[in-house]
Symmetry: C2
Subunit: 362 residues, 2 copies
DNA sequence: ACTTGACATGACACCGGTGTCATGACATTG
DNA sequence: CAATGTCATGACACCGGTGTCATGTCAAGT
């Protein structure tokens, strides 16, 4: 591959002049510029960013770590949205800023993080994005002092700058829509109580009820998420069964994510309950594969992964350029839209009584 | 950040000796090694790969381009599996080989490819992985001569090395399972006929029928995939309606992907048809979010994205190390497993007659 | 005509590593 | 004891760019 000396020789100028043409940082005579450009084209010259970066101390590289700290297999990955949306959101911003993204995946093994970070350091990344597969608390088990780090979809105790979804407001806005549709008796199948999102969303849920003067009934809230493993279907079935057997069954069901909503659709149909005529269902995530394909299409709150990626990228770029560190006591919350689709409608006028002979398939 | 001279000075040796300790390419006295290691630890020294690569001409970087050449918006992305599995599969292999992955996304705009490749060239990537979002024919509109390139999930006319899913064998193996379960009257809701996979899979489908002595009936094969857009539900409904109205309705339905299977579940349930008691359903992709959550869980053929990513990575590493170029007249086909779950069972003993008053929701 | 300044360009060192070759210390061998 | 070989280490150039400073040319100003 040709270098700047080859170009200089062919164009009959000094390497420094070629450099000036490349960077446009000093005046070059039109005639000279043309000769240099022709020589570069002729030799298919492309400058080496490695050589540039040793002098400038700027690599133009950003590191990104995904898949970290799932202790088990990759079950979790399937539960929610794929992080690819996050990566794409961030990548677009970096691309625009002339940065290139280095990507590494822990494969669910957090012990590899220090090694990945060391590799990034060798490449002299200007910053690091640390992406979790769902909203959680983490601890980067590696030395990242003196590095610009932004956490995405997670938090740590050290107060590292972080970008997370605004779960509370998301569920609040979503539940408001449910209330606005006329529902007063709303059930909620939540994710695991161990997840940060679960508590936040429940707060939003309660707030929306309180605003509407609806009394919060804890017996209408049941955690069911087992990340798609064996007993989950049974768990959801039991929860729905409880709801349907009530004297006044709920007219709407909120689900912790779109996947749960999909399971709920199936079970309600099995039991002859019509969505949304008899019961409205809403999800969370706006995982389009699910939300747009289910019939009726699913009303759901967007988990704004692309926006979070972009926000985190901007934040990181700021950290890199501004030496001054803004205040990050609290993480940055990114709001998602509520997407209204057919699964939410006004409750039936007459109280519904359900046929309770539904059965579980073995 | 400390450099090799700082370390040398602190350890009281020459930079070259530090280099030797780092690389272990020449004997160093134990005492000296210890002093150097202590100095490195003290200064938190991490060697610069940029400085290394200008001398060695080896960057240790691999470029990866995703999201290319969807002319429309990102609709397609939602239709199938997310490419993240591909990226992870490849990344694990590269990581193991000491390579680091540079990632770029076209955002669906193929015009940006030349620019992305130029950026990769500046970083002197040793090879390039070009990942498509589904099995298709492409043309990298950029100069990649003299580069090691492997196409993943796509093909071009120039005979660039490529890794694609073995769609024909996948559908063959899947259909064999359907046949083996006792089905003789099998319908097939295919993806768009414009997709390469559709023809290949149909060939596999036909082969499986022929093996079992079942006559292929073209009226049982209907393309329905509109990538989740508006009219799709109606299209699937119509196709299923045709099937159900037949004198001898099919006892099993193959779907072009898991998303379509999800839609089919919903429509069959609406019309009171039980899966799998009355009709078995199988999908394609093994998109676990769908296949494991649907009830009954979906029998489907795996689209082996992770394996393809790994295979492509190995192939690329070979291209990089072996100067000799093996023969790649035909693309490498990667086989996926058939995953059997509850949605496939033996057909009912008695011929089914369906209630045809099913209706479409507005 | 001489000074001054703007403009265009080149020489050279330097960034942080590594390959090549030379050198010095010491042990082995005849 | 001198010759030879091995081992450990250092001096130096080089990789491919760019920052700094010097130099040469030419036109405008006095």
């Amino acid at each position: 591959m040709a270098n700047i000396y080859d170009v200089a020789k062919l164009a009959g100028v000094s390497p420094k002049t070629v450099s000036r043409v490349l960077n446009g940082d000093a005046p070059v005579a039109e005639k000279t510029r043309k000769a240099v450009n022709e020589a570069m084209a002729e030799l298919e010259y492309i400058p080496s960013s490695a050589a540039r970066s040793i002098k400038s101390q700027k690599s133009g590289l950003i590191g990104l770590i995904t898949g970290a700290i799932s202790t088990k297999t990759d079950q979790l990955t399937h539960a929610g949205l794929p992080e690819i949306n996050l990566v794409q959101g961030a990548q677009a911003v970096f691309e625009n800023a002339g940065k290139t993204l280095l990507i590494s995946d822990t494969g669910g093994n957090s012990e590899r993080v220090p090694h990945l970070i060391r590799t990034f350091r060798q490449h002299r990344v200007e910053g690091l994005l640390y992406v979790a597969d769902h909203h959680k608390q983490i601890d980067i088990a590696a030395n990242t002092d003196s590095m610009n780090v932004v956490l995405v979809n997670c938090l740590d105790e050290k107060g590292t700058p972080a970008v997370v979804p605004d779960d509370e407001n998301g569920q609040l806005a979503l539940t408001r829509k449910v209330v606005a549709a006329g529902h007063k008796n709303i059930a909620y199948l939540t994710l695991s109580p161990t997840q940060i999102a679960t508590k936040l969303r429940l707060d939003g849920f309660k707030t929306a009820l309180a605003e509407a003067g609806i009394t919060y009934d804890p017996s209408l809230v049941i955690p069911v998420d087992l990340f798609g493993s064996q007993g989950e279907h049974q768990l959801i079935w039991d929860a729905l069964d409880k709801f349907l057997r009530r004297d006044t069954p709920p007219t709407a069901i909120c689900c912790g994510n779109d996947r749960l909503a999909m399971a709920v659709y199936g079970i309600l149909r099995d039991r002859g309950v019509s969505v949304p005529d008899q019961i409205s269902v809403v999800g969370y995530d706006d995982h389009k594969l699910v939300s747009e394909t289910l019939y009726p299409a699913l009303t759901t709150a967007e988990l704004p992964y692309a926006a979070m990626g972009a926000r985190a990228a901007h934040l990181l770029l700021n950290l890199i350029s501004n030496t001054q560190i803004p205040d990050f006591e609290t993480p940055i919350l990114v709001n998602g839209q509520v997407v209204e689709r057919g699964s939410l409608q006004a409750p039936a006028q007459n109280a519904q009584v359900y046929n309770l002979n539904g059965r579980i398939r073995p």
